[in-house]
């Protein structure tokens, strides 16, 4: 039986954003098993993807170590690389979907399959990019007003449409440490996952802000349980946060930071009603696990590219000194200053079901929606022209005659609502 393979070697956020593409591929080719190659530390997480049959970890550290072994003569490197690939016992794939426009991913795709869809489709040395990959690169560079979400663009890269149903992850079969299990699996509370840290320093929310947010949640949500989420690197910060809170609040706080594997974290997030945080992998994991998300997007994070995937999520987009109706016109190129204030009370109000309240001046509220062309965010009730243009972009980029490497066609769509 022919098998297909999807390669996603990037970080947790990108892996989670690949779920719609995986789901659509599975729906489109139900009889063709789909396997996944992902970064080794994420492989246990990817085992939870129901539409993936086999997960192969790509051990970048091991590759790095092999590539830096003594000597420079080519043969031992080839032998070592062959050994690595052989040890993984990859089957031969009839097609490999490559989501990363990176030489390593392109090369891996060609090692594993004769036919590559996505980056490197014309050959490992061919500089030409397929239309959807070129689009993503253009978006990353121009940071314009595109409205096709990254996860939907991944679908485009794979040659499939966005999925009809938003895919989710279930991990309630994964065992938790006893003390966590007692709290998490006890069902009388409203869990609010708080994503404490971020891989990129400039995407971290100050601890004082989190303390303020936790205090208002506990004060104003009678059944609220704040679940702190993060990796081992944030353990100290989580303990510091606990220290700063009055002791009476601690019974309403569950500190999971650095205490869970990714599958265990998914289990915890499966029990949360909400997840709040900046644009990070755990935020998207929370969404995939069924929580509604409220993202605080600042620095280089952009709601239209990487907002939480699905319907009913919110994003507070930081826009210093900007009128709320003109988001598309501004180029968030990463040079924006850090927020001076945070939408703490406003986020609580969203959790309480009040989304009509006044907004803080530097933040815009966007809400997620979905249609046949994937998902999009709207700031208010009226569809803007950029949302409507998604259909044209899809048709243009997905057409068999789509012009490779030409960004002229969709550049107008990227900047179409800028004025």
């Amino acid at each position: 039986m022919s098998r297909s393979l999807l390669l996603q070697l990037a970080r947790l956020g990108d892996l989670i954003q690949s779920l719609p593409a995986i789901s659509s591929l599975h729906s489109s080719f139900p009889d063709r098993p789909l396997d996944l190659v992902c970064a080794a530390p994420l492989a246990s997480m990817a085992q939870l993807f129901s539409d993936i049959q086999r997960v192969y970890p790509w051990d970048g550290e091991r590759w790095h170590s092999l590539a830096n072994m003594d000597g420079g003569a080519p043969e031992p490197f080839v032998v070592a690389a062959e050994q690595y690939v052989d040890d993984c016992a990859f089957p031969r794939y009839s097609v490999a979907y490559n989501l990363n426009n990176h030489p390593r991913s392109v090369l891996a795709s060609h090692v594993l399959s004769d036919q590559v869809v996505g980056a490197g489709d014309l050959g490992p040395l061919h500089p030409s990019l397929p239309p959807w990959v070129a689009y993503l690169r253009q978006v990353a560079g121009d940071r314009g007003a595109n409205r096709i979400h990254l996860a939907d663009a991944f679908c485009g890269v794979c040659g499939v449409n966005p999925p009809s149903v938003v895919p989710t992850i279930r991990a309630t079969h994964v065992d938790l440490p006893n003390d966590l299990a007692c709290m998490v699996d006890e069902g009388s509370w409203n869990g609010i996952g708080i994503v404490l840290g971020a891989g990129d320093r400039d995407r971290r929310v100050p601890l004082a802000t989190w303390r303020q947010f936790i205090e208002v949640c506990i004060d104003q949500l009678p059944h609220g349980l704040c679940v702190l989420i993060g990796g081992p690197g944030e353990r100290e910060a989580a303990l510091a946060l606990e220290d700063q809170l009055p002791p009476s609040y601690l019974s309403r706080l569950l500190n999971c930071v650095g205490r869970t594997s990714l599958p265990q974290l998914a289990h915890v997030l499966n029990r949360c009603q909400w997840v709040v945080g900046s644009d990070t992998g755990p935020l998207h994991l929370g969404v995939a696990c069924g929580a509604r998300a409220i993202g605080w997007y600042f620095s280089r994070a952009r709601v239209h590219e990487t907002g939480p995937y699905g319907v009913g999520h919110y994003v507070w987009q930081f826009r210093p000194g900007v009128n709320s109706k003109t988001l598309g016109a501004f180029d968030l190129n990463g040079s924006a200053p850090p927020p001076g204030s945070w939408p703490v009370q406003e986020t609580l109000q969203l959790i309480q079901g009040q989304d009509e309240s006044a907004h803080p001046s530097e933040w815009e509220l966007w809400k997620s929606h979905r249609d046949v062309w994937g998902m999009f965010y709207m700031n208010g009730e009226q569809l803007d022209s950029a949302v409507a243009q998604r259909k044209n972009i899809w048709e243009q980029l997905s057409a068999p005659s789509a012009n490779r490497d030409s960004t002229v066609g969709f550049r107008s769509h990227l900047t179409g609502c800028s004025s």
């Binding site: 092999l66 590539a67 830096n68 003569a73 080519p74 043969e75 690389a81 060609h110 090692v111 061919h126």
Partner: protein
């Protein structure tokens, strides 16, 4: 037939001459007695050569430790004989493709062993190397394979001088046979005496065919010296240290951009321990040629663990001090000359007017020179003093040239050529000659290379480099004047000595010789990296011959000139040149993949 006779019979089948010599050699060097385990063990001068309890177990541990590094096809040269428990264990632990050569420094020692321990089962298959050090080294070098030295220390010390001579000879002979090319990054100082030497080193390495990257920090001298205007000592030193650290990081960036096989730092190169540690993590071998007096400049003590190899211009006490401080490899490497620069030149009439003299001295105004050189004034000859740091030099002021300006290399060569008797007085910060004076300064080699005659103060290491037919050596300051008088009166002898010293440089003391020796020493200590490259194992023809496991690489290897060195990066480059439409084979894809990871630089700085 007893053990000895049986052993002789085994040796005769392999080396009749050796067997014959052994029959006429008395034993008695080793005192043999039974160990606790019952096996024979040996003692010399109250020092045990093998364990007094269990020599077999000890030998197995030694062999296991060494065998893990040995690779098939290598020549394993064992130094240290004793009762060869370790040889037997080594034989059992290494690939049958490896040739084991055992250096026999003294036949008496072998005779003692032959009387008590059998060779059967393994002794037939090792090669016994005997004779004088030069011929023994020749036997090893002519194998034409990668050489790995394995030392059994307890027995080594019995004949340390023979082994040292053997190693020196082997280094030189392998150096002459080396045909592979390395990428050497030479890191120079910001300024100072080792700066021009760095330039000579670069030229020498290039003339040997190696690829050289010269990290020239003298470009930053002006900025560095500008910091001397900061009056606060602590602040100035802090800023200078930061400046120096930055230059170290710049060196590291060069390494990251174009990784060399070897980083060769000259004395005072601004490489901190942190930078060296980073290079070690990236598996770049580092060496320092410490062309300073180790007693006067002691910063080497803080840097000792930073470099993989140290080369010093002093012997005995210096080598001991470096070893005791923790140097893993330290070797004697005297200074030299560059004959393309230090050569005979004709002076123009104008130059003769300024530079010519009966007697000259060129050098900085150290205390001993200030005290000794005035004795050369007031004679019938003309005397000129050249160099800097001669402020307040008293009566010498009237012969000081160019107001004590620093003399550049081209001018110094002309001065050497224009002087009948060049005075070469080694610097010393006290009176007279340095009683510990051992190393020989660069001027000695440079004068000789120019074919210039010199009168030089005695140095303990001088006789190994030049004999007294090549230069006039004085042992006390008082001998200078008579030596000059004699030399001025004997032009034929003077010319003959100068010519002999020049020939000596050409034969043995150029920077090319030194770099051959330096790389050969590194090759011997690092047989599977530097040694392999020097042996030409990375050349296309050698790779082709050894493409057993990946015959798919052969077509690609055939695209390279046979003698060119081919690394992973070269193959990756060749693959990429195939163009965008190329359909790549699996091996080619994997080469590109490895190259992608190998070029990762983000963890470098």
């Amino acid at each position: 037939m007893n053990v000895f006779q049986e052993n002789i019979s085994i040796l005769r089948s392999q080396d009749p001459a050796l067997a014959s010599h052994l029959l006429n050699t008395p034993g008695g060097l080793l005192s043999i007695y039974p160990a606790k385990s019952g096996l024979p063990t040996a003692v010399v001068n109250n020092r045990s050569i093998h364990s007094a309890y269990d020599p077999l177990r000890e030998a197995e541990q030694w062999a296991a430790h060494h065998a893990k590094d040995c690779q098939a096809g290598e020549v394993l040269v064992v130094l240290g004989l004793g009762l060869w428990y370790h040889l037997e264990a080594l034989f059992a632990n290494v690939s049958q493709d490896s040739l084991i050569m055992v250096v026999v420094p003294n036949l008496q020692e072998l005779v003692d062993g032959l009387a008590v321990r059998g060779l059967k089962g393994w002794g037939e298959r090792v090669k016994w190397v005997w004779g004088d050090p030069e011929s023994m080294a020749g036997q090893v070098a002519q194998q034409g394979q990668r050489v790995r030295l394995l030392t059994y220390e307890p027995a080594l010390s019995l004949h340390a001088d023979v082994y040292d001579a053997f190693r020196l000879q082997l280094r030189q002979q392998l150096a002459h046979r080396a045909n592979g090319t390395l990428h050497v990054m030479v890191v120079g100082p910001i300024y100072g005496g080792s700066l021009p030497i760095g330039g000579y080193v670069v030229r020498a390495l290039e003339s040997l065919g190696h690829r050289v990257s010269w990290v020239d920090h003298s470009l930053h001298e002006r900025g560095y010296q500008q910091l001397n205007t900061i009056r606060d000592d602590r602040l100035r030193m802090t800023v200078q240290q930061r400046f120096s650290d930055t230059l170290g990081v710049i060196s590291l960036a060069h390494v990251a951009e174009d990784p060399p096989d070897v980083v060769l730092a000259m004395s005072q190169a601004p490489l901190s321990m942190a930078v060296l540690e980073q290079m070690r993590r990236k598996k770049v071998l580092t060496a320092m040629w410490f062309v300073e007096n180790f007693r006067h400049l002691t910063y080497w003590q803080q840097m000792i663990g930073g470099y993989d190899f140290w080369f010093v211009m002093q012997q005995a006490a210096c080598l001991d001090a470096f070893k005791q401080a923790g140097a893993s490899h330290v070797s004697y490497l005297p200074l030299a000359a560059d004959p393309s620069i230090h050569q005979r030149v004709n002076l123009t009439e104008h130059e003769e007017d300024e530079l010519k003299a009966d007697v000259s001295f060129l050098g900085a105004g150290y205390r001993n020179r200030r005290e000794i050189l005035p004795a050369l004034l007031g004679h019938e000859w003309t005397f000129k003093l050249w160099g800097n740091e001669w402020d307040n030099c008293g009566t010498l002021a009237k012969v000081l040239q160019r107001n004590g300006a620093r003399i550049d290399t081209p001018t110094s060569v002309k001065i050497f050529n224009g002087t009948t008797v060049n005075i070469n007085l080694h610097s010393y910060t006290k009176s007279g000659f340095d009683p510990d004076g051992d190393s020989v300064n660069p001027r000695t080699f440079e004068l000789a290379s120019c074919g210039a005659f010199q009168v030089i103060d005695h140095r303990t290491l001088l006789p190994d480099l030049f004999d007294d037919t090549m230069m006039k050596v004085v042992r006390t300051p008082e001998e200078f004047v008579p030596a000059i008088n004699t030399s001025l009166r004997e032009p034929e002898q003077r010319r003959a000595m100068a010519e002999a010293s020049k020939q000596q440089v050409m034969t043995s003391h150029t920077y090319v010789h030194r770099m051959e020796t330096l790389l050969s020493a590194m090759g011997l200590a690092s047989p599977d990296r530097i040694g392999a490259i020097l042996q030409g194992e990375r050349q296309a023809e050698s790779l082709l011959a050894r493409s057993r496991e990946s015959p798919e690489l052969i077509p690609l290897l055939n695209t390279f000139p046979k003698k060119s060195r081919v690394e992973l990066v070269d193959m990756a480059r060749a693959i990429r040149l195939k163009g965008p439409e190329a359909q790549l084979k699996r091996e080619e894809l994997l080469i590109l993949m490895m190259d992608e990871y190998r070029q990762e630089k983000r963890d470098f700085l």
